[in-house]
């Protein structure tokens, strides 16, 4: 009897957990589905349904402000991803391979941008740029916040994310492979190119995708460090809701969502356990 009882509990527990998983999934994704459906709404108002139409996609892409915001977002995302991937990987390698003065401090600080709230980081960066510009001012050129400062800020937080992801990969790294390469008289550079890099490539790619997604999504830091002509797409969307929401925003959100989901899925696929890599 008691055996049957536990089996029954186990079974119902399993069902409950399964139901819960589906419930959580619905909780997370139903709002997104609604958002996507309403992006095909023909009405002027976001939550008044008036029939199916793709007109808002056309209007969104015909709106020069949205297109310019999209352009800024892409420039910032791509440049910050490239730079932070290179720097982040270098930091991860340095922390993993070498013992040097201040390594411990660096080890602690590299996680800081992940831990501190966006708003703190945003204010810190704004104050930093303000003070730096004041200093540069005394030598002549007058600088202003703009696309460059947004990109620099994104690099600042993305380095940490890339470094963390690459380090996780390095933790599982089999050092004997490098030793073998060196035993076979490979130069350090060649060892790096032909052995180390291919092995940590999935980590680097995952870090880069994560950086790209974070950069495309960021609102707070971008809003603080943007200057004239540097409104990013998320900042534009966030500012627009004040004036009432049109399905145009749903259309842009859907486009952004599609991009983000693609990136996240790709990043997850790349982070798969090493069974997928030799």
């Amino acid at each position: 009897m008691s055996d049957l009882g536990t089996a029954g509990t186990k079974r119902s527990a399993r069902h409950l957990l399964k139901a819960n998983a589906w419930f959580v999934f619905a909780f997370l994704y139903v709002p997104i589905v609604v958002l996507v459906i309403f992006s095909f709404n023909d009405s002027e108002r976001v939550n008044v349904w008036q029939g199916l139409s793709a007109r808002w996609y056309g209007e969104a892409l015909g709106n020069t402000q949205i297109v310019s915001a999209l352009r800024v977002s892409l420039i910032v995302a791509i440049s910050s991803t490239v730079v932070s991937t290179v720097l982040g990987t270098a930091v991860a390698l340095a922390l993993d391979r070498y013992r040097f003065k201040g390594r411990r401090a660096l080890d602690g600080t590299v996680y800081l941008p992940i831990v501190i709230p966006d708003i703190t980081m945003a204010v810190m960066l704004l104050v930093f740029f303000a003070e730096a510009f004041k200093l540069i001012d005394t030598f002549g050129p007058r600088l202003t916040l703009g696309v460059t400062t947004v990109a620099l800020s994104h690099i600042a937080f993305n380095i940490s994310f890339v470094a963390v992801v690459v380090r996780a990969r390095l933790d599982q790294f089999d050092r004997t492979l490098e030793e073998a390469a060196r035993d076979l008289y490979a130069t350090p550079w060649r060892t790096f190119r032909r052995v180390t890099l291919p092995l940590i490539a999935p980590g680097i790619a995952a870090g880069a995708l994560l950086a790209l997604t974070l950069s495309l999504d960021d609102v707070v830091i971008s809003a603080f460090t943007a200057g004239p002509g540097a409104t990013t797409l998320p900042v534009y969307v966030f500012s627009s809701i004040r004036q009432g929401v049109t399905p145009e925003l749903n259309a842009i959100s859907t486009l952004m969502l599609t991009a983000s989901i693609t990136l996240v899925v790709a990043s997850l696929a790349l982070q798969r356990p090493r069974s997928t890599t030799p």
Binding site: R45, N47, V48, R104, M124, G227, G229, G244
Partner: protein, 397 residues
Amino acid sequence: MTNPSQTTRRLRRSRWIALIAAAALVVAACGDGDSDEDAEPAATEAATAADDAPADDGGCAAGETDGDLAFYNWADYMDEELLLAFEEETGISVDYSVYESNEQMLTQVESGAAIYDLVVPSDYMVALMISEDLLRPLDFDALPNVVNIDDAWDNPPFDPEHRFHVAYQWGTTGIGMTYDVLDALGGESSWAVIFDPDTAALVPGSISLLDDAPEAVSAALKYLGYSITETIESGDEEAIREAGALLKATNERLLKYDSVTFGDDLVNGEVDVAHGWSGGFAQAFFETDAYETHVYTIPVEGGVRWVDTMAIPHNADNPCSAHAMINFLLDAENGAALTNYTYYGSPNEAATPFILDEILEDPGIYPPPDVYERLELIPQMGDLGLIVQDMLTEAKS
């Protein structure tokens, strides 16, 4: 994962993080302190910057430009055609960026790191920016079209000498409702429909209130019979606390606090009574043809009016271009085009013939004179601002 050396390492690491986070906070605090102390030097800097500005010695000529214009405005608050027309007329290009709140704009201008030529602060923000020396006095010689502005906008309390701003668009805050509710109230709108339990019981559906502390507290003050201006200018904390208590007592009757979709919610039937801004209702009514069933009203006790203005930050690089843009928007037809786009009231008297009839005839956008007299500007709150914010936070909790 539970290997001891890893645990200590993790512990050590978290200590490091804590230490560094603390250091970061200290640095941030110092940074803030610096910027406070810098307030005065910033003023002198503004003066030097003004001296450096090329065209400042003789002021700007009307229509003169001195470089591409960095224009910082609220989102969805400008007809793009106007920007294109300005670019064509002057040959300079407009670097247009948007913000979401007065405070966001203030932070950027205050930092001194973002250089904008033209910003659009609301009334109370103009006063605040003047007090912090963040605005540059306007050169009215370069603004011949300023005669188009209605005299009613001369020398407002937030800029008594009228040196720093030109009115951009204005609107009111009141109550949107269905005609059924208005009939139940006997045809006269009153804040009682929100704040008085017996009157609120007449509303068949739900009620929403703006998620904006100064607006919510002002509404409660109006219902209680206080003047917003007098209460705030005399620093009458007790009246504000009374309004806060009223908000708290009202909380259970509300469906929600909302500043974004109030117009849509009303048209959809999600709420029957909504506290909100005139333009938000007007847009929702126009776009769904809800004029037969819904109406925006200014309560008999009075409501709030506000005005957004154009102003030039102290560190603007191209003040002449900014003046050119202000003058361009003050043109009768351009002013009308702006209002025809935003559905907010235009301070531009000369623009009236060019504004769409449906906007001019809407008493929600252009209230008749007797209703207009019942409207008050919310003054700059200063230290009271924090208390006002607390009132809304407490009411919601």
